[in-house]
Subunit: 439 residues, 2 copies
Amino acid sequence: MSTGATDKDHDPGSAKRARVVIIGGGFGGLWATRALARAPVDITLIDRTNHHLFQPLLYQVATAGLSAPDIAAPLRHILRGQRNVTVLMAEVDRIDTGARSVHAGAQHWNYDYLVVAAGATHAYFGNDAWRDYAPGLKTLDDAFLIRSRMLSAFEHAEASTDPVEQARLLRFVVIGAGPTGVELAGTLAEIARHTLPREFRRIDPGRAEIHLIEAGPRVLSAMPESLSASAKHQLERLGVLVHVGQPVSAMDADGILLGTQRIDSATVLWAAGVAASPLGACLPVERDRAGRVRVAPDLSVPAHPEVFVIGDLASVTDGGKPVPGVAPAAKQMGRFVAERIRRRLQGKSDSAAAFRYRDFGNLATIGRLAAVVDLRGVRFSGAVAWLFWLFAHLLFLIGFRNRVIVLFQWAVSYITYQRHARVIVGAPGSRSGDEPPPS
Amino acid sequence: MSTGATDKDHDPGSAKRARVVIIGGGFGGLWATRALARAPVDITLIDRTNHHLFQPLLYQVATAGLSAPDIAAPLRHILRGQRNVTVLMAEVDRIDTGARSVHAGAQHWNYDYLVVAAGATHAYFGNDAWRDYAPGLKTLDDAFLIRSRMLSAFEHAEASTDPVEQARLLRFVVIGAGPTGVELAGTLAEIARHTLPREFRRIDPGRAEIHLIEAGPRVLSAMPESLSASAKHQLERLGVLVHVGQPVSAMDADGILLGTQRIDSATVLWAAGVAASPLGACLPVERDRAGRVRVAPDLSVPAHPEVFVIGDLASVTDGGKPVPGVAPAAKQMGRFVAERIRRRLQGKSDSAAAFRYRDFGNLATIGRLAAVVDLRGVRFSGAVAWLFWLFAHLLFLIGFRNRVIVLFQWAVSYITYQRHARVIVGAPGSRSGDEPPPS
């Protein structure tokens, strides 16, 4: 164990302790860190932000239902009681598996074991220019940018005197009908229909069009077909226009092209694809098309048993099926590699270990009282699914305070349809004053 | 009254209704708007943000104790029930008192009555280069920038291996010992001493130095001398180093010069001066040194009885004493000019009207259980003053939800010393990744 004093003074015992570096404080990295709490190791947890983010509720921050601190907490606060961890905010730009070192600018850290849990970012499938037109949703910064664009569109529509421009401002496009796209489209429809109407004088927010675009044949393609159909029906009941089997063919600052159909829109959101962190390219190992690292069954890098890759950055199969990029899988991988490190430090044989994914089911929310749940064959949708989704998410939120606050917000917003965080602030490119309303 | 339908279709009755344009949705503008709820006028309320801000608690957002939505609400949400108001988000850049019009870019609005409540911004007394080194605190964007700089300083100190750089990162300077400067310095000291210590491994946040700099002879100069002395004592008990009678003579990116004393600091905050909004320069009237408009006793602009200036932008005296730039004064001015407009519309004589400021007292908080209160001679400080301050502010917060949430936050943070909003996000120039830690 650490001395408890500041670790700057060299701890004479630490020469014998294994150095574990963990890159990324998401579900994978944080769960690996916690699972090593009692191991005789010195952990350095490096993240480019200062916080762990409860990503399943990030769309609620983007749509002004929750505040950032409701779903994010400083990593060093979460880990304050775990004395064998040093948390550092830094952006890792290079891994040297030969020298066993991790680099961020001029700084570097040596490791005996490395856990790479750097996650994923948006993929625009070669259309990198689309990035500016259609922001994705992975970080809190993304959420604030989306919130600001969405709220500003209604503000600018109210200020505009040009009916064509007003219509463009009141048309929203969400690309990709996975869980995030469905959540964004459903919530946008609710905001337009229920939250805003009484507040505007010159426009009717209820006239807003919400388009959900999916290149594949159905929404929520990871779900059974019956639940996809139910989700589509629930979306349409909320007033969302669902386009399936139609890939986006072009995009500019004023809208998108869907085959030959032009959709003019001031607010296009991207929920269509993820690409693994570019850090995977530092590792001497094959990657799949999405950039994910093809790890060994024990999640280590072939020929580098001291390097593990977990979470959205890992490409791994269990029973021939790919393990999905979801929070439960990342947590399980984090705990699994912690166990590998512990066993090796104890000198135990561990060569036959293989990661097994325990799939508890799949759930997605659409809007108020609207969701779909698939618990390994037990399928339900609508109000019961929504309540199940709500309590499952509350249960996994970190921190008592956050649970109380989020439950309170949901209760208020359930009763009043209000979304309390409708404050335009802090998003680059849409700061007050920088972006005059169209005239 | 409005027809209740969208106002885009020309209301045949509206030709007879007076058009009132109100610039600014702070305390002055919002209270003027509300006081005109039953008047036969069509109000256009223009603000460059979408929200009303409860500025007295803005320092809590800057110091991660509260979230933005706890103290800010969309203006159109607050005014949703008042059908004679159209709220527009736009940045007014010109007022033409001859044509009786207000301009924002290519848009303009004509008025019969104009209320200018555009507030104030930071004043750097001719040292505009200081703006980049020492941000001020007037808007939510400012608060996020300060929060990000403050939290990042501790993060970078933990990551740094250079003791000199660590010391510079752990030294904080607040310039100006008015209410905002005192609140910032006191809260910073509490964060360093009580909130953070257990969370760092390589630095001791408790070693952080907080310097409060005041050019004048005492802190809280608007208070009686006995309370200034008490405030200084309470600050020093929190560990704040108070420098009075010492103006800052120079500043650069690495610190400040105080006479001949150099203070190296990575985080310098500005709470030393305010300047009235530049919109005042559009009005054909004399302004004082701070740029405030010298209005007539009825708060109108001489020779333009249809134009009123209120709040921090107005320079007005009552009984020979200048009315201070505080929220209660702005609200009273807002209600006062609404009454002037109503009376004139009724054809009543109003030439003798003069604004009288009802001064209920003065209060300032320093930290946990530390505050000073002066209720027109009844003076107290310490724990009782702090409780008085707390409930006075809760009482004036807009919205039941905000009161419940803020009370809950304060209770939690009182018991645990924790500040829940310690999430670095969205501040330009300090976004994750843009600003690598010093090495």
